[in-house]
């Protein structure tokens, strides 16, 4: 095949991909970006414009005297979103390592079944899964009965607490952490662990100096996979948090719904996307420098 034919082939070969990416990703993002620059319509909706007032609104409010006053209320939501995202990621990581370790060390013919069980919740609709927690954590629910059985004192309710929200988020995203961590632990040479013990390393030293550095690619991949959807989550704060804890996802949702301020919702969505992109760039950089170091 000559060069020209190759180029033509490459262009048309990739055309479906570009078409799909354009229709489902680039154009919609462009629309959201456009809306975020628009004016709020008097009865919901919006008018095309080119002003940044929606972005300004994230940090400032208009005072009585038409002066801009710094208002941290949305900043607090962004901060809370990041905090919940980080907490979810950390808890998922802490729980995934032992689970992945057990799977990796299970008998060979059990491994596929165990991996399948980890992914099982994904076969059920997200809403149903979160709803299930509503029942478990609700009044007279399983959680309350278990708590009382274990001799716990009177509780008001488990629902609509940060704990309930975190439980739901961890539950929803943990398979995304277990799988890459399992893949990394599976690849770990058991002789390296023996070498560490042989060289006077106790369990903690072995975990810190051998297991964690060598499974880090899996852990960081899992962290990205969990953190990114976790900061955009809507269902858990709404259903399990009872809407008491506003997050970016719920904020965007209310702006397009009841709040009827599409440009502001779109602006918050763009900020959320920017946060995700920043995380991805940081990770790519770290991976690149780690790769360079390994090759050096």
């Amino acid at each position: 095949m000559n060069m020209k034919a190759l180029k033509t082939f490459r262009f048309w070969g990739l055309a479906p991909t570009w078409l799909l990416m354009g229709l489902t990703l680039i154009i919609p993002i462009g629309i959201v970006a456009g809306v975020s620059l628009g004016d709020r319509g008097p009865y919901g909706g919006f008018d095309w414009a080119l002003n940044f007032s929606s972005y300004r609104e994230i940090l400032f409010t208009m005072g009585w005297t038409d002066e801009l006053e710094f208002d941290p209320k949305y900043l607090a939501i962004i901060g809370r979103t990041l905090a919940y995202g980080l907490a979810t990621t950390a808890i998922c990581m802490a729980l995934s390592v032992p689970v992945a370790y057990v799977i990796a060390n299970a008998r060979e013919n059990w491994k596929p079944l165990l991996v399948y069980l980890v992914t099982l919740p994904f076969w059920v609709s997200m809403i149903v899964r979160v709803y299930a927690w509503l029942i478990i954590l609700g009044n007279e629910g399983l959680a309350e009965k278990a708590w009382k059985l274990l001799g716990g004192g009177d509780v008001d309710t488990f629902l609509f607490t940060p704990g309930a929200m975190l439980t739901g988020m961890v539950y929803s995203y943990i398979p995304l952490m277990v799988l890459p961590v399992y893949a990394a632990i599976e690849k770990l040479d058991p002789a390296l662990l023996e070498a560490s013990h042989d060289l006077y390393g106790n369990r903690w030293t072995t975990l810190r100096r051998v297991i964690l550095p060598l499974t880090w690619p899996g852990l960081s991949a899992g962290a990205i996979l969990v953190f990114v959807p976790a900061i955009g989550t809507v269902l858990e704060p709404m259903l399990l948090g009872g809407g008491k804890q506003m997050m970016m996802g719920t904020l965007i949702q209310t702006q397009f719904g009841g709040g009827r301020n599409w440009p502001f919702g779109a602006a918050v969505a763009m900020v959320l996307m920017a946060l995700v992109v920043i995380v991805l760039i940081l990770n790519a950089r770290r991976a690149a420098s780690a790769g360079k170091e390994a090759a050096a």
């Binding site: 040479d189 002789a191 390296l192 023996e194 070498a195 560490s196 013990h197 042989d198 060289l199 006077y200 390393g201 106790n202 030293t205 100096r209 051998v210 550095p213 060598l214 390994a294």
Partner: protein, 357 residues
């Protein structure tokens, strides 16, 4: 020689399910000894090594390290280090970090650590590579670093699990001399596991031959080779001719036997108590041919020939019995014997051994 005991193994048995890997094994390894566990794969030698390291525990029996019972000590509390078959170097650490790993865990301060790492790199001739990572090394270089890493913490005993098996032939031979001189230089007890009898004979002070989970023989390389305790050892170490014979009488270490060639000879025996069937073991290089023949003479016919350079191996048929004969090609114009040719071969009865069947 009054030397301290480095490792004592008492009646150690190990079974995995119904499989008996080791069966009542006992021996003592002295300080500053190069001790080799030799045997075919599956003989239990690696299991034994892993029990000394602490990665397995005996089903029965006890292991003592410098007189101290180690049953309850986890691997990281035993003053024993291992050179793993796959080397098991930490891929995310530089060579210097690999070597320093054990020293850090022992709580050596930075200055002492750095000095020791430099000393170890010097010892294995890898000083210029301190900042590299294991992936950038050849097999032989990795081997050296694995050795340096295991020797750095000054263990009482160094365990080597078939460390040369991954190297090519030339390197393997060079590493043998190096291991031997490292052992002498450091004065550390080496326990070397291998299935390669040549390695074992070349390097060891003493060899323990393991077979079917049992000790077959413990002795110096020449004892093992020249005076094998039984058929298994004679067969596993080196090459030999087994000739079925009839024992006429046994007197202490000696037995009088009748061979199929019609000869009656008196040779050293192992494991016999009285008359009956036995096996005569006669090594191919101990049978001379034509000019090299000596002792009892036999007439035979060449039936096969393998030219090996320094040696030629012949198969000679003597009264219905095939004998392997090794002939040293001591002169460049040495005669060669073609199959079909009649030859005279000879052996001395003090080279033959009578073994229980």
């Amino acid at each position: 020689m009054a030397r301290g005991k480095a490792v004592e193994v008492y009646n150690v048995s190990k079974s995995f399910g119904t499989y008996q890997a080791l069966d009542e094994v006992s021996f003592t390894i002295h300080e500053n000894e190069f001790f080799t566990l030799l045997g075919p794969s599956g003989c239990g030698k690696t299991t034994l090594l892993r029990m000394i390291a602490g990665f397995e525990s005996p089903s029965e029996g006890a292991i003592l390290l410098s007189g101290q019972e180690i049953e309850t000590l986890p691997p990281h509390k035993r003053r024993v280090n291992t050179v793993f078959q796959s080397y098991a170097l930490f891929p995310h650490m530089t060579l210097a970090q690999n070597i320093a790993f054990g020293l850090e865990n022992l709580g050596w301060d930075r200055k002492r650590r750095e000095a020791r790492v430099a000393e170890m790199l010097e010892l294995v001739h890898m000083a210029p590579f301190a900042a590299r990572r294991p992936a950038q090394l050849s097999g032989g270089q990795r081997q050296r670093i694995a050795l340096a890493r295991a020797l750095a913490p000054e263990p009482k005993v160094l365990l080597l699990d078939e460390p040369l098996s991954a190297l090519d032939l030339k390197l393997r031979q060079a590493m043998r001399d190096e291991l031997r001189s490292l052992q002498k230089k450091t004065g550390i007890t080496f326990i070397f596991v291998t299935h390669d009898q040549e390695e074992a004979l070349d390097m060891s002070d003493r060899i323990c031959v393991l077979g079917n989970g049992r000790i077959q023989q413990i002795g110096s390389p020449s004892e093992i080779y020249e005076d094998p305790a039984n058929r298994f050892v004679a067969d596993f170490i080196g090459e030999t001719n087994f000739i079925e014979t009839e024992v006429l009488s046994v007197q202490g270490e000696m037995a009088r036997v009748r061979t199929p060639f019609g000869l009656e000879i008196t040779a050293r025996q192992k494991g016999l108590t009285g008359p009956g069937p036995a096996t005569l073991s006669l090594r191919p290089e101990k049978i001379g041919m034509e000019a090299q023949a000596d002792g009892w003479m036999l007439e035979g016919t060449v039936s096969g020939r393998n030219y090996m350079g320094g040696y030629t191996h012949y198969t000679v048929d003597v009264s219905g019995q095939s004998l392997r004969v090794s002939r040293r090609n001591s002169l460049s114009h040495a005669d060669s014997y073609a199959p079909g040719q009649p030859v005279t071969i000879g052996f001395r009865e003090d080279s033959a051994r009578v073994l229980a069947r």
